[in-house]
Subunit: 504 residues, 2 copies
């Protein structure tokens, strides 16, 4: 076995970002489940069809290696295809146009502050420095189109590029198209049951089931696929797996919805951990603060609630008062909102006709959609709104007056950064959505080296095994800032793909 | 493999506290490292000689089963024997004498509040309800002697019994004596290298090295010991393992000392995790707020610093002002102190001659010891103290006046609970210690069922494997309250011992 001392050296080298040593052989690893016969052989198998997995597969093919991409669900894209389509990119084209000064260092500082410095600094550096080149490649190689720059909570400046269609699907669809040109079509309804290690503890293939139907857990036909070079774990997080997340954070029980697609379960990360992958920080689960209790999952109401975080405000309907900086980090906002919901109060996101006009420009047709869906409500007058939610008139109109005053003073009583986005809220019709946080992102996960190699519980790495995206931990620390996940997935997905393709 | 659905059911039953199912067989588990020949066979092997391990071994022998207890260090007791000897016991004899009303429910509420509700409620309930019976047994069966009741940070009332000699050694020594009467002497310098699973994934024995010397990692002779009934993991936490703890919390790097004995390393928990034990909440590492930078490890200066938390006060020498409720929970206090230390300021624990007199009654001879050791300093006048640390006179004497005022008003400006312990601070000589937090306790660890069975990463349990004490996670959540660890170790050590002894 590797000694305690050599373990430390190995991990030390991982932390230091130098080439990680291979875990020394040990008793338990000397047990292989390599099948007598492989049903199929390729160079690389990628698990997951979100931003990270598709990026990894793209790099593998670009490097001229064979690649099989699998996903257990019936449709590709995981959480990425339903995500908001905002990518954190210091130095993006809109910042340049607006003359906003920014840098990877500034982004890193904001990530570390929100992350309570639990972030692994080498990972933060990689993501922040990789952001602009990744954004350029998405434009130049994939044809991804961007519309404007948004200001996400916890970021010191607007630095998040929004896709042309206001969704992650703009990126995923173009990644899928680029992959298809390279001859790769993801195999859907194919679930990974086991990562197969050889006698030396090297990951050499997978036991999967084809024709799997999510929710029918015994469905599908078993198959063994060999991977000559290696395997990339890009199966995302586990926020939709109530029992697994409850072990780490008993607060987030059945009473909390998740924004995630139903396939965001734990069997992938359990398998990785069970065959020796080191997990870290899994008890940091992020709630998205601005989701709606009036619809299932991620929904669409958050688009309005999000817009009001810089162009309107949030308040407690029972008191008529704001209670949190609408641009604070997600944890601060979620904790504050949950405290008010526990009092049995409604929390509302408020904006006026000017807010609505800008929103319409940002996301054409969306206001109509959320009104039709019954997750946003329109009121011609403040009186009508106050009546509908029995909001104390005086307190509420004092709140509006304070916000309007901050437009000129640029000083917000709750410390919100006031920029040109905020205009005085004066003219009806007025619009509100209800707010209730939902479990959104698992910050923790598999520990990887700077080369996206999976770190072994026993120190060193598990040869042939790579991971990227939400399946990994360390990038975001305690609290992830909005729009940083897309950057993480694109940057580290690329690294994983390039590195696995290099293996002999 | 066990299905996602059955996994949830299994874990659900664990959470619900009903009998946990055995993890369904799966490929990886079907690889055994059972030796051709065992060197020795017994019923139960206990790893670790702290409160939990010794309690488990005691129960095993009481149940009439054979037991081998191993410890890798040259001396027994781990962190327990150097611990402060305070056990949280609502309803203890001193509370009764002082007419302090308390209950297991009140203790549970305080633990959950400090633990940010990350605690597993079934574990909290077990510990709180088991406290008083465990305390009685320590008196009746082991002859442990207690001296007085202390008020630890985060507890609503004084509810922590202090051992006669003011150290955990009072308990450990009597546990060792009781075990020796039962024919068990711990085998020291015996390290566990591997937990051996059979083909069904049941823990059936250990690969150990006898004659191991800590720090000489390859030392010792390999030996295989079979355990007919099972194995109890009571190897404690990993706070002294900088590389391991840094993976979970990069803040606690080489710049932080630990209060733990040097053997508080990670090889035990790594091995458990590597053979399939589910870990939780390992990134919650607690710093002991009141340790001294003027001595290595736990040291002795904390005794004075602790006494001043209710009988004196803590302040920033550069400002002369208090800055934190000295009885707040450990995380609040550590974070506040670290912030002031980062400014390059000294943080001092202050008390006067009255404080010293009570301290002398509590811990005879200790004041003399800490003065001799050069970790506490005596000043005949305030002027002398102010001069020695260039403390701003006016601000400091205002601080003293405020504290003295709170003795009569019972209102503390920083919200400290003021009780009869606090007397006006007026007469020299005055004493101070310097304060600097040290990494003290790993709240996270191995997930267990209410029967102390180790939960498998794949759901269900690992048959034959039990764990208790700091090696486990879930009892304390995010923040452990002082004196709750002893209770946890005694209560859950007993449960682990009784349960493993029952196995066929």
């Amino acid at each position: 076995m590797s000694t305690s001392i050599s373990r430390r050296q190995l991990l030390g080298s991982v932390a230091a970002g130098s080439a990680a040593a291979v875990a020394a052989p040990f008793a338990q690893a000397a047990c292989s489940n390599v099948p007598a016969k492989w049903d199929e052989t390729t160079d690389v198998i990628v698990i997951g069809t979100g931003f990270a997995g598709l990026m990894a597969a793209y790099e593998v093919r670009k490097a001229g290696a064979e690649c099989i991409v699998i996903d257990k669900m019936a449709t590709p894209g995981g959480n990425s295809i339903i995500n908001g389509g905002i990518m954190c990119v210091p130095g993006n084209d809109f910042q340049k146009k607006d003359g906003i000064e920014d840098s990877p260092e500034a982004m890193a500082e904001d990530m570390l502050k929100a992350g309570l410095n639990l972030n692994h600094r080498d990972k933060v550096k990689t993501v922040c420095e990789g952001a602009l080149p990744a954004y350029r490649r998405l434009i130049d190689e994939f044809g991804v189109q961007w519309k404007l720059n948004t200001h996400e909570g916890g970021h010191r400046v607007p630095r998040s590029a929004l896709t042309a269609n206001g969704s992650g699907s703009e990126i995923v669809r173009k990644q899928l198209a680029a992959l298809e040109k390279l001859g790769v079509k993801p195999r859907l309804r194919c679930i990974m049951d086991h990562i197969i290690l050889d006698d030396a503890g090297t990951a050499v293939g997978l036991e999967v089931r084809e024709g799997y139907r999510f929710g029918r857990e015994e469905s599908g036909r078993k198959k063994f696929i060999r991977a000559r070079k290696g395997i990339v774990l890009a199966f995302g997080g586990f926020c939709a797996d109530v029992e697994y997340r409850k072990m780490f954070d008993p607060n987030l029980d059945e009473n909390f919805q998740s924004t995630n697609h139903p396939g965001a379960t734990s069997e992938g990360i359990r398998e990785a951990n069970a065959i020796g992958a080191q997990l870290i920080q899994c008890d940091w689960l992020q709630c998205l603060p601005y989701t709606s209790p009036d619809e299932k999952g991620f929904g669409i109401a958050w688009t309005w609630t999000g817009a009001t975080s810089s162009r309107g405000f949030w308040f407690d309907a029972a008191t008529g008062r704001r209670f949190v900086n609408e641009l604070a980090d997600r944890k601060i906002r979620s904790d504050a909102i949950i405290a008010h919901l526990r009092e049995g109060h409604d929390v509302l996101a408020f904006g006026d006709s000017k807010t609505a006009k800008i929103f319409e420009d940002m996301r054409p047709g969306m206001l109509e959609r959320i009104l039709k869906a019954g997750v946003c409500w329109k009121f011609d007058t403040l009186e009508a709104l106050e009546k509908a939610y029995s909001i104390p008139k005086e307190a509420f109109e004092k709140t509006i007056a304070e916000v309007n005053e901050s437009v000129t003073t640029k000083k917000d009583p709750l410390g919100r950064r006031v920029n040109e986005r905020l205009q005085t809220l004066t003219d009806g019709p007025f619009y509100v959505t209800r707010i209730s946080p939902k479990v959104h992102h698992s910050m923790g996960g598999i520990l990887t080296t700077p080369k996206a190699e999976v770190v072994s519980i026993r120190g060193g790495i598990i040869p042939g095994l790579y991971a990227a995206g939400e399946a990994t931990g360390g990038v975001h620390g305690a609290v992830r800032l909005g729009s940083c996940a897309v950057t993480d997935c694109i940057v580290n997905g690329s690294i994983a793909g390039r590195e696995v393709a290099k293996r002999g």
